[in-house]
Amino acid sequence: MPTLEQRVQRLEDLEQITGITMQLARHFDNSYHADGVVSLFTDDGVFDGGPFGRYEGLEAIHASSTP
């Protein structure tokens, strides 16, 4: 059986993951706010847009979302 602390941690993890995903959508809708977008990615983050290109790392992702 997971402890109460482990159960709460799991809920906090799920809530934070949902939160950053919603923030990402809001940064996109805020005229593709590139600084906001990259603040949500890991340093080695990857954005793969399919036919719209693949970008590795914060610098590349930042450039991709700059209008």
């Binding site: 993951i17 950053i20 919603m22 809708d29 990615f41 890991t42 080695d44 847009g49 700059t66 209008p67």
Partner: protein, 86 residues
């Protein structure tokens, strides 16, 4: 593509998040419905965000985002006639 988008609304729904047992990795799938203006044209977008997350320094961050496209279609055409206007 982003320079051509003058208006966007990303709507996220029907998500599934899976936490790995190690406490620092997770995956997520989100349906995304978009109502955008692209190149001056009203567009409907339907895709799935295929996400990987990693916890670093106590914070969850996105380690990868992959767009799995279902359609990208002009409002006046529709996804049956024009599923992918790339």
């Amino acid at each position: 593509m982003t320079e051509q988008i003058t208006f966007s609304k990303h709507h996220l729904a029907t998500h599934a998040i899976h936490l790995a047992g190690n406490g620092t990795d997770a995956t997520g799938q989100w349906y995304m419905w978009g109502t955008h203006t692209i190149g001056g044209e009203a567009m409907f977008l339907a895709l799935t965000w295929d996400m990987h997350y990693r916890k670093t320094g106590g914070h969850w961050r996105i380690s990868s985002q992959r767009l799995d496209w279902q359609f990208l279609t002009p409002y006046h055409s529709g996804w049956v006639k024009t599923p992918m206007a790339v």
